[in-house]
Amino acid sequence: MLTYFRNLGLGLITVLNSMGVAWRHLFTPSVTLQYPTMKWTMPERSRSRLFNKIEDCIGCGQCARVCPTNCITVQTEKRAKDEPEVFAADGTVKKLRTIVFDIDMTLCCYCALCTFPCPTHCLGMTGEYEYSVYDKNDHLYHFAKDKPMAANAREEHVTEKA
């Protein structure tokens, strides 16, 4: 009989205890982040979409060589000797003209290995993570700005590659 009442009291106390816990949590501020209107500030070294500052790119192609998924395509051609010299931001001479610098983000595995060998630190990962698209081809980013010297030169190059 005594244990009956003791169990009854214990049950009542534990119920009230748990209700107290629930009551406290009713008024603690919620942890939800209202995503599309509010966003996390991404960490400084977060690895998301790749970006190449093409003005500093010397077209060495080390990033393309190191990429484990082959998502970077670089095609270059030599500048003519009589052209004026072009420099990257850190003073390196740009001896090559970068005709094609494509990054296929559908292939990228976000390892960031390509950013380490870059001699002019022009290739890097950004914190930008909202870049889903309706067409898969929109994930192929073209960075190159230089036009090939002669129109036929580029065509030769492409056919050679294919």
Binding site: V15, M19, A22, H25, L26, T28, P29, Q34
Partner: protein, 351 residues
């Protein structure tokens, strides 16, 4: 219903209508009114449940639909359920399967007929009001067993059987707890019970004597079990029985089960309010302070407080095992409520 009959007199040539129309029209109008109010209240309660549960779990709950804190979320959900495909499984008992949701809802809805929302706003004043509520309220068991049986699904059948065992066991302590109120009032009519509690908070049965206070606690616990709320939700225990007796239901039929569940919550809360919290009567008597809140709104506020406690309990307690459930009903609530009835009888006779 009398007030609605009086309102209908305003219709031109109302008295020229045939007698049967004049007899049925007030009933029909008041039933539609109660149904509409019930549906609105259920929409609100579902939203409130989601909000309360979210905030207890440190979340926000619905925030977008409708603008302010997702107030239109349940409206959108109801619309979605209306538009959904009504899947009827192949090997079912068709008649029972199709009838079950409506019977479950009928049990909850029909009981609201005798609940007095205000001094003059009730559909009818039966002289056996509370007995009628106890009887009609347990009609939903039949619907639940029908749903469980007709679905031809082991989980549904388990859910239905558990619901039957649970609701019938808990009917007894809840009815006996109701008796503690009927003894001092001397009437089964809901209106008489409210009238006996007029004149301020100290006249409410909850605070009038200690036995009835304990009876209120017992009624509250038993009513939680009767409406299959956590911690007594073994008939629809998600982790064991998928969704219990309404596993096979979809679309509008599922919505009816949902509606019935929340209507039942409202019903037990309004019965508890009427019996123990003075129904629509004011907490402060008119001689002390002006009565600013109208009766029906006050009634709804009291009901809302009780419903909030139901939700609060739901999100703070785990589910009981079947044997624990039976232990609580037969070995704890029943003996205590019997002792309380004796105590109230003693107080009523010798005080």
């Amino acid at each position: 219903m009398e007030s609605i009959a009086r309102l209908l007199q305003l219709i031109p040539k109302y008295n020229a209508l045939p007698g049967i129309v004049r007899a049925l029209l007030p009933m029909l109008v008041s039933c539609i009114l109660v149904f509409a109010l019930l549906a609105l209240a259920v929409l609100f309660l579902v939203w409130m449940e989601r909000k309360v549960s979210a905030h207890i779990q440190d979340r926000l709950g619905p925030m977008y639909v409708g603008g302010w804190h997702g107030w239109a979320q349940t409206l959108a959900d109801a619309l979605k359920l209306l538009l959904k495909e009504d899947i009827v499984p192949e090997s079912i008992d068709t008649l029972l399967y199709k009838m079950a949701p409506f019977i479950v809802f009928l049990g909850a809805f029909a009981a609201f007929v005798v609940v007095p929302f205000g001094a003059a706003s009730f559909v009818t004043d039966l002289n056996i009001g509370i007995l009628y509520i106890v009887a009609v309220g347990s009609l939903s068991v039949i619907g639940i067993i029908m749903a469980g049986w007709a679905s031809n699904n082991k989980y549904s059948l388990y859910g239905g059987m558990r619901a039957a065992a649970q609701i019938i066991s808990y009917e007894i302590p809840s009815a006996i707890a109701i008796m503690t109120v009927i003894i001092p009032v001397g009437s089964l009519s809901m209106v008489d019970i409210v009238n006996a509690q007029k004149g301020g908070i100290q006249h409410w049965f909850l605070f009038r004597n200690p036995f009835i206070f304990l009876a209120f606690v017992i009624y509250f616990i038993a009513s939680l079990a009767e409406v299959n709320r956590t911690p007594f939700d073994i008939p629809e225990a998600e982790s064991e029985l998928v969704a219990g007796y309404h596993t096979e239901y979809s679309g509008m039929r599922f919505a009816f089960f949902f509606l019935a569940e929340y209507a039942n919550m409202l019903l037990v809360a309004s019965v508890a309010t009427t019996l123990f919290l003075g129904g629509w009567t004011q907490a402060i008597p008119a001689s002390i302070a002006p009565q600013l809140i109208p009766g029906p709104i006050l009634f709804f506020l009291k009901v809302l407080v009780l419903v909030f406690i139901q939700m609060w309990l739901r999100w703070s307690l785990p589910r009981l095992r079947v044997d624990q459930l039976m232990y609580l009903s037969w070995k704890v609530l029943l003996p205590i409520s019997l002792v309380l009835v004796l105590g109230v009888g003693w107080l009523t006779v010798y005080w």
